[in-house]
């Protein structure tokens, strides 16, 4: 299946969960990333059980703490 | 539109681009919708650019008068935007 991850089209096997995608995309600080699928947030407790389907648009939102 | 009464006068002959337009714009801002102003400006760049810029802002150019001393009088009717 084809999904869009942070604006880029990617090929993944069907049945991919958010947790697996986070590992595959080598997301930095995976415990603290916010994930949205098709412009809806996914609760971090649901990462294991949420499976992606063809055409999904996934965004990772990262904590960015700097400013000084 | 030949009949008009001038409500205000402005003189922008003492400044150069872009202050000519800035000064004209500020003078226009002070007017109420429909009021008429006569703006005195120099030949050359001011008379080439200022009338066009004022028109682009949505105001109505009534007339451009050529004075004896090579300056111009631009007669403008204020059109309130919003």
């Amino acid at each position: 299946m084809t999904i869009t991850v942070a604006g880029n089209e990617k090929e993944y096997d069907a049945g991919l969960t958010v947790t697996t995608l986070i590992a595959a995309e080598e997301v930095e600080t995976p415990e603290y990333v916010t994930v949205s699928i098709n412009d809806e947030f996914v609760a971090s407790g649901d990462f294991e059980t949420t499976t992606l389907k063809d055409g999904d648009n996934v965004e990772f939102l990262y904590f960015m703490g700097g400013g000084r | 539109m030949e009949n008009y009464n001038i409500d205000e006068y402005a003189d922008i002959t003492d400044v150069v681009c872009p202050m000519t337009f800035v000064k004209a714009k500020i003078a226009l801002e002070e007017l109420d919708d429909g009021q008429i102003i006569s703006i005195k400006m120099n030949a050359g760049e001011p008379v080439q650019n200022v009338p066009r810029s004022i028109k682009d802002e949505g105001h109505q150019i009534i007339k451009l008068l050529h004075n004896e001393d090579e300056t111009y009088q631009l007669i403008v009717k204020k059109v309130e935007d919003e």
Binding site: G67, R68 | P18, I26, E30, D56
Partner: protein, 270 residues
């Protein structure tokens, strides 16, 4: 209020713009913006807002200028090292534009004082470098119904979003609560390219100006991210958090509180 000849000339490039004009410039001169953090983000924000003629600028920061700040905090100079950042920032802003008023708050923003500082301003800039402060600013602005610009920078990356009461999600809708102290690197540990503050801080200043003059579209409901190495800007749509603890339908946060600071964040910046 009529413009003086000096104001006419100083703000001429604004007045010429049809979106600003005389009316917009008067709005700027009558506006009040609070900048929390006089660091990498706060520096360009303060300088551009001062230059733009934002009539009253508040600047809050408890720190003093350190040599390591000067790589990015362009509002301070080498001669300012050791001086309170708010004083150094005020001097620079007034040197750029003596037409404005600068209020200084030489203190950390905390649950105990932030509401009192924020209440006098029309728009707030988050230029802090730590999560406790970022969440506190969010909560204080949501509860006081003040619009604010969030931003964060690290390494070669930056992000920002704008909160306007009733018009979109807040920072806490996206990021529920701060990560544990030191779990996510901040730029004092991770480093940051100096110009990043310039890019993102200038965008924050732009949001404040657009909000004040009432023109254009703000970054409400969107997170703008910038990756300097890829030279890529992206706008990520943010859903509204109906269940948000502070701005949701049934909020559980109804008064302000402080989160624990990271141990190595002692040099933090608001």
């Amino acid at each position: 209020m009529a413009f003086t000849n000096e104001q006419m000339e100083r703000y001429s490039r604004h007045i010429i713009l049809s979106e600003v004009g005389v009316k917009g410039q008067k709005k700027l001169l009558n506006s009040k913006v609070l900048i929390i953090g006089a660091g990498g983000l706060g520096a360009p924000v303060g300088m551009y807002l001062a230059a733009a003629g934002v009539g009253t600028i508040g600047i809050a920061d408890a720190d003093t200028v350190d040599l390591s700040n000067l790589q990015r905090q362009v509002i301070h100079t080498t001669a300012d090292v050791g001086k309170p950042k708010v004083e150094s920032a005020k001097e620079t802003m007034l040197a750029i534009n003596p037409d404005i008023t600068v209020n200084t708050y030489h203190e950390f923003v905390l649950a105990s004082n932030i509401a009192d500082i924020v209440k006098d301003y029309d728009f707030v800039i988050d230029g802090t470098d730590n999560f406790p402060a970022k969440f506190l600013i969010n909560d204080a602005c949501v509860l006081a119904k003040k619009p604010f610009s969030h931003a964060g920078i690290i390494r070669f990356q930056g992000q920002l979003m704008t909160y306007v009461p009733g018009e979109g999600p807040c920072y806490r809708c996206v990021f529920k609560s701060p990560p544990p102290p030191d779990a996510v690197p901040t730029c004092s540990q991770a480093g940051v390219i100096g110009a990043m503050g310039g890019v993102i801080g200038s965008l924050q200043a732009m949001e404040a100006i657009k909000y004040i003059i009432g023109k254009g579209e703000l970054l409400t409901g969107q997170l703008l991210t910038y990756d300097a190495l890829k030279m890529e800007f992206r706008k990520i749509k943010l859903p509204h958090g109906d269940h948000c603890a502070v701005c949701g339908k049934e909020p559980t946060i109804t008064e302000l509180f402080d989160y624990e600071q990271a141990v190595c964040g002692v040099n933090y910046d608001e």
